[in-house]
């Protein structure tokens, strides 16, 4: 390509030429045998969305049961199965691996790498996730576990939960744990070793920062829960008594081990979402991120503190008051770097020129909801207040504001932002905004009344309740809201299904992106990049656009975003 061509065509072009080879294998064989991070990433996202839908159906069944007092739609035993399936699915089979899916697809692209450091290990991660999911969901045909996703012994011991469902739950933790652990090592090795020339730690995209920290947290936390569930397994089948109080074991030991994993897990689920928001907001504000260093540093500080706050799940357990005080302080402390991130995002929006795309809707919606979840978290950290609120619907509301308002809304922001890169086509923006409003209104209708339910004394995990306790109205509103939320999710699924074939062609960089994934074509070729530009800032694509503008004198207009600007 001559220099003149380059000047005549100011949009960054990828010089990759797809080598068309006669097809020798069937299409599905390509997918099953692939080690391409993009294909694995797509498989991750599709699989985890299937699990998301399953978990969502379980949630809707629980909400149906709770819509009116003394309901008999679901039996108490089935209700306990549903809550166990819902929690386990959403955490181990949706939020954690969906982040791995996004990271798989975009970390190599954002750092200008050809693939992950260990492509075959990467495929192993995916197939282990599928296998773990099958081991867990096969219990639907036998006896699903019913001791909750936290599975406190003695209830989860063989005496009280004799069914194989509990063992399937243990194996799910083992298998998906290995999957995540292998994946985490892979992300770490990739990010540390395979960055584009010039991409120093101070120029690493914030999403990649968050995945680096996600990987480190997984590597620290997962072995602990692996040990704990192994101890539970030997308790159940091989005569040990780690958690058996009748033989000097301690149920509280499980609580410590489980939540030493369980709380970092919360940040494992939410930090990648923070990373996505830190990418999306600057792009659509047309501004650099406010306080790059503070956001990157707060990610690291959150990860460190995340390892020191597990005790706030145990405030009602037999634990000395001084220890409760420590965990209250550490839980308060983690609010500070989290607050810093929120302030920085708002400051990034401030005095920007906001292009109101669906991705930005979801990003702003995320901030609005996450602020509520963060504030209620402060209530729960005050341990005497937690004595009233722990194990009630207040807690359910709190962590759904954090994990649905937080993780799920960021995932949806990520879908609307990155779908054009993955498929080469834009999602329909009008349908996307409809989906956003349905989800936003439905979510608040579902979970805002649950705060009041908890304050009115309704504990979690009960399959029904008597009338006249002041709970009925809140529960009914919550159930109606959950169906609105469900419809909102469905609208996006339909949007994705339709736009994959019929959406507007996106071109390589529909949003005027900042990071390197927008440097290559959409979808990217198998080798990602033919040439890798030298990275000179945290926004390499912006540098490239500016350079072209300087050299050609033509303002860079790109395919997608201008249509959303309010004129």
């Amino acid at each position: 390509m001559a220099t003149t061509d380059y000047i005549l065509r100011p949009v960054p072009q990828v010089i990759a030429h797809e080598v068309v080879k006669p097809r020798e294998t069937k299409r599905w064989v390509d997918w099953v045998t692939t080690t391409d991070h993009k294909k694995i990433g797509i498989m991750y996202m599709v699989l985890t969305f299937v699990f998301f839908c399953l978990g969502g159906i379980e949630a809707l069944m629980m909400r149906m049961q709770l819509s009116v007092p003394n309901n008999t739609l679901v039996t108490s035993e089935h209700y306990n199965m549903l809550l166990t399936l819902h929690g386990t699915t959403m955490i181990f089979l949706f939020v954690v691996p969906v982040m791995a899916g996004f990271a798989n697809y975009f970390v190599p692209l954002m750092i200008g790498a050809r693939d992950m450091a260990f492509p075959r290990l990467n495929a192993l991660s995916f197939w282990l996730l599928l296998f773990g999911g099958i081991v867990f969901y096969i219990t639907l045909f036998f006896h699903p576990p019913e001791a909750g996703w936290w599975s406190y012994p003695p209830l989860s011991e063989a005496l009280y939960s004799p069914s194989g469902g509990q063992d399937a739950w243990i194996f799910l933790i083992h298998i998906t744990g290995i999957s995540s652990l292998v994946g985490a090592i892979n992300f770490y090795a990739t990010i540390v070793n395979m960055r584009a020339p010039g991409m120093s730690w101070g120029r690493l995209p914030l999403f990649v920062w968050s995945i680096l920290v996600y990987a480190v947290l997984l590597i620290i936390a997962l072995p602990v829960v692996a040990a704990a569930v192994t101890m539970l397994l030997t308790d159940r089948h091989f005569g040990t008594h780690f958690f058996d109080p009748t033989a000097n074991g301690s149920p509280v030991l499980w609580q410590h081990l489980f939540w030493f994993f369980g709380h970092p897990e919360v940040y494992i689920m939410i930090l990648p979402g923070f990373g996505m928001i830190s990418e999306i907001i600057p792009v659509f504000s047309r501004k650099p991120i406010f306080g790059y260093k503070a956001i990157a540093a707060s990610t690291v500080v959150i990860a460190f503190l995340a390892l020191l706050v597990w005790g706030h799940h145990l405030f009602a357990s037999p634990i000395p008051v001084v220890v409760l005080g420590f965990f209250m302080l550490s839980s308060f402390l983690i609010g500070v770097p989290t607050g810093v991130k929120i302030f920085n995002w708002i400051a990034t929006l401030w005095r920007g020129s906001l292009v109101m795309t669906t991705a930005l809707y979801f990003a702003v919606g995320f901030i609005a909801l996450f602020v509520i979840g963060g504030i209620t978290g402060i209530f729960l950290a005050v341990f005497p207040v937690d004595w009233q609120l722990n194990d009630t619907y207040f807690v359910v509301a709190h962590f759904h504001y954090v994990l649905v308002g937080g993780a799920v809304f960021t995932v949806f922001a990520g879908i609307y932002y990155w779908f054009p890169k993955i498929s080469g086509r834009l999602l329909n923006e009008k349908v996307g905004k409809l989906s956003f409003w349905l989800m936003f209104i439905g979510f608040n209708a579902t979970f805002l009344p649950q705060h009041s339910l908890g304050l009115s004394g309704m504990p979690r995990r009960i399959y029904t309740y008597a009338p006249g306790l002041g709970w009925s109205t809140y529960n009914l509103i919550s159930t109606i809201g959950s169906f609105i939320l469900g419809v909102g999710v469905l609208v996006t699924i339909l949007n994705v299904a339709r736009s994959a074939k019929h959406g507007k062609v996106a071109g390589p960089d529909p949003w005027k992106g900042n990071t390197l994934e927008w440097y290559t074509s959409s979808p990217p070729p198998a080798n990602n990049f033919d040439t890798i530009p030298r990275v000179r800032s945290v926004e390499p694509m912006r540098d490239i656009r500016r350079q072209i503008e300087r050299e050609t004198g033509v303002t860079q207009k790109t395919g997608g975003s201008e249509q959303f600007a309010r004129v």
């Binding site: 819509s67 108490s76 035993e77 306990n80 001791a147 406190y152 003695p154 209830l155 009280y160 109080p245 149920p251 501004k287 650099p288 406010f290 306080g291 260093k293 009602a316 357990s317 308060f332 500070v336 810093v340 302030f343 920085n344 708002i346 400051a347 401030w350 920007g352 020129s353 906001l354 109101m356 609005a368 602020v371 209620t376 209530f379 005050v382 341990f383 005497p384 207040v385 004595w387 009233q388 722990n390 194990d391 705060h451 304050l455 009115s456 004394g457 504990p459 979690r460 995990r461 009960i462 029904t464 002041g470 009925s472 109205t473 009914l476 509103i477 109606i480 959303f564 600007a565 309010r566």
Partner: protein, 282 residues
Amino acid sequence: MALVLGAALIGSLVLAPDALANFITPKSGGSPNANAISSLYKVTLYIAAVVFVIVEGALVYSVYKFRAKKGAHAAQIHGNTRLEIGWTFAAALILVVLTVLTFVKLPSIINPPNSDADGFVSASVTEPTPPNGEKLTVCVTGRQFIWRYTYGQDCLNQAFTSKLPYSYQEMVVPEHTTVVLDIQSTDVIHSWWVPSLGGKVDAVPGYTTYTWFKVPHTGLFHGQCAQLCGTNHAAMTALVNVVTPSQYQAWLTQQKADIQTANAQVGQLRTILTASGNLGDT
């Protein structure tokens, strides 16, 4: 479907005047510790409300004000160290205030006060104790799926040898009296919780945990096991029936007599069944 739900919603709003009870504050009014928790909660709520309004206000304002318009340019700001340090410290300062408040309130939540002069008391030295040492001890034992209460001092060790009176699900206690609960479980983890009488305490097998309450007036207080304990978790309710000290004394005597009668009847039945060969060696 939607119509039915909507009608049910409006119906329950109209028919249940207490439907919106405890909209933004926890239950309280039964016992000083529940009241102290409630007031600590309210302070947190006021602070939270201010933070909420400021942060959400800034968010909504910026989305409203800074939308892309023709000719508008985004300010290319990379950060502001002073501002960033400022809001970090502001956030930390709020939390310091909350910490201090918590520890100021804490003694009134965990330390039981003296019973009133007309309270009904006995002495014990094993559990948390009011300053003058006078209190009423009730042992609470959780098991799938009912609460059992054993009344009287040293109920942890001597429940059977002293033939202490007991009851299930409904606890009867006197007003004006500091009642200390010794909480245990015989099987899985349960959680003792009567919202109006204070926070929840887990009943963990292998451990004894404690809480207390002191009710200023007679009345009924509902509660429920708060930790998933198995299939019938939802049915594991508790009822605290607060009566006058003299009523309590009468109830205790009656309960003791009832238990003795029932025991005697079971003994007689056993003798008859054994004699007739209907009861094997078990």
